[in-house]
Subunit: 371 residues, 2 copies
């Protein structure tokens, strides 16, 4: 079965809905924890349930290299391999080729690059990406795209966006896992007409959902917000929309305001491993000496395991001593914080007070932020 999106309520352009998958239904908007290598770093499946994670993301490029898609297939697919019975989305590897490969050679066929592990020459094509994802047996596969750098010339963006459309078509043609849905990705850089063209042409191919890609790669916030607005008006109301690589609380709220349903980012777990924690009063860093004798939770309003059971002083102690549990406790907190943010957003949408909710959150979050 393919996924089914149900749009339940709108407040302005912000959408509250549900997404039905073979591994359960979750509410949207939703933030997706990233489990690059078939595990969300430091967390176990039960902990993902406990933070009310509706769906997680895993990574085609990484799993292709290790352990290899054939081993995952032999294990019975990604869900069985990692013992996670909730929905899983796999991204196509396009972004990793963009961000990890030092030297890459993009042709019509695909991308030639060197493995970030052993330097081996690799070729990833739209067909190969889909073939790998078919074997991984995720619930949602992504089309192989080129994530355009920022800034680039109009000419480069146009040529790349047109190629990504041809790649999307090639990928769709070879996609054959009947239990897996496939999303198209809108590119187009910062250019309004290219975003429109990319959105319209991608929608014509009739995917199960649509992503907006090429965001959160160093462009200013106002540019990112424009990239969303240029594209989203051409996406159909009856399909889910996913903003890729966005994990900043304020960016998530802006995405939701414009009608985005799904987000992912390594931000919360990466921040965690460096001692950073989201709080409703802004981001804090637990390395700070002022938390040495602070026997209060990271955020007293937070309902996560970490905040219910441990103090800043304790987390700081573990962090200072390089204990792995520090990263674990902070990852749980940061992921729960973003998922709770989408929960609160859903409620606000249902109650037609989304703008007030965003204003109230933003005022508090930006007032004292140490970031």
């Amino acid at each position: 079965m393919h996924i089914k999106y149900n749009l339940i309520h709108k407040d302005g352009s912000a959408r509250y809905g549900t997404l039905e998958t073979n591994y359960g239904t979750f509410e949207t908007p939703m933030f997706m924890p990233v489990g690059t290598l078939a595990n969300v770093k430091t967390l176990m499946p039960e902990e993902l349930k406990a933070i009310h994670s509706g769906i997680i993301l895993s990574n085609t490029y990484h799993l292709w290299l290790r352990p290899g898609e054939d081993i995952v297939e032999k294990a019975g697919g990604l869900h069985k391999f990692m013992n996670y019975d909730g929905p899983i989305l796999t991204d196509s590897g396009g972004f990793q080729v963009f961000s990890l490969a030092k030297k890459k050679d993009i042709t019509e066929e695909g991308v030639k690059f060197k493995s970030h592990i052993d330097g081996k020459e690799l070729l990833l094509t739209p067909e190969k990406s889909i073939e790998i994802q078919n074997k991984l047996d995720s619930d949602i596969a992504m089309s192989f795209d080129e994530c355009i750098d920022y800034p680039v010339t109009y000419e480069y963006a146009k040529a790349s966006t047109e190629r990504t459309l041809r790649w999307a078509k090639r990928g769709k043609d070879v996609h054959k896992n009947p239990n897996q849905s496939l999303f198209g990705i809108v590119q187009g850089g910062e250019f309004e007409d290219l975003r429109r063209m990319s959105a319209e042409e991608t929608v014509k191919m009739d995917f199960d959902g649509y992503s907006i890609g090429g965001t959160s790669i160093g462009e200013p916030k106002d540019v990112m917000y424009k990239m969303i607005s240029y594209a989203i008006k051409y996406l159909p109301e009856d399909k889910p929309r996913y903003l890729m690589g966005v994990g900043d609380p304020l960016d998530i709220l802006e995405g939701i305001r414009q009608g985005i349903d799904m987000f992912d980012c390594v931000h919360p777990t990466r921040l965690a491993r460096h001692g950073n924690a989201f709080t409703y009063d802004g981001k804090i860093n637990l390395h700070n000496a002022k938390y040495k004798e602070d026997f209060t939770p990271i955020d007293s309003e937070c309902d996560c395991y970490t905040c219910k059971n441990f103090t800043k002083a304790y987390v700081r102690h573990l962090l200072t001593c390089n204990e792995m549990n520090a990263g674990r406790l902070l990852s749980i907190h940061n992921l729960r914080f973003l998922i709770k943010l989408t929960e609160d957003a859903r409620l606000a949408i249902k109650e037609n007070r989304y703008d007030e909710f965003v204003e109230s959150f933003t005022n508090k979050y930006t007032k004292k932020s140490s970031n």
Copy 2:
């Protein structure tokens, strides 16, 4: 309240009993997971409960340096600081001074050495060790001792053992936490008369329990087993006996055979982080390529979370990718393996078949061991 040991049944010298503490009663023999820095590496308190850990160990030397005993005291003691409501034993720091300090200067007063973190000059004395432990508020404190190297001359061992007795007395004199019990430590190296002297003189001071120290520091197994036998016959039946630093399954079984009740070792968690797992057929290393497509649990007889939920192929994948969850899954397994070993030993003692149990375990464990 001080601890209370209840000897319930003996099979030969092997003892089945219970130990009552302010944080609950546990059965003995028991293996204690090591939580050096106020956390068992990669595990949370609930996971310690899930592996049926009766008591854990934490570390005076490490907590003295970070975060400092005053912060732990202000947090309300070690139980509150680390949110662990089961029994905790703290060791005295003697072993860490022995093993971590590159240059140390042992005098009658105590041990002068350099911090393993910043090289700062430090002095740990019997009084200071007890004072720190009083503040940590563990259920069981250990006397400050010198862990004698192996091998040493008879003269060195004699002088050191006599000094450890004087240190034990000094520590006992300043011990004043009414909710904390205090154990004496038997030293004496490999020398029968010194072990006897140390045991008899330590027992005369009337501690709440007795440890056998200076074992598992590189001496041959037969020497370790003799060290136990030289001392244990002089220890009172109505007090618990703790063999320090021993975590090899066969050594644990021999200790129990001779009448030991408690064990601790960093072995299971350290092995885990290097990819090693105990199995009933001997130790295995998950880095081994033969597990690449092995979709069976680490040990099909094991009842731990890891073995119930994940395959060797998955754990190997995480390990190969340096994912922290590999260490976590293997730590859970290895700790549960040793605790289950003591559970099985308890049952065998109760049923008067301890020797048969050891023989059967040993035959299987040593037959195919890759260690």
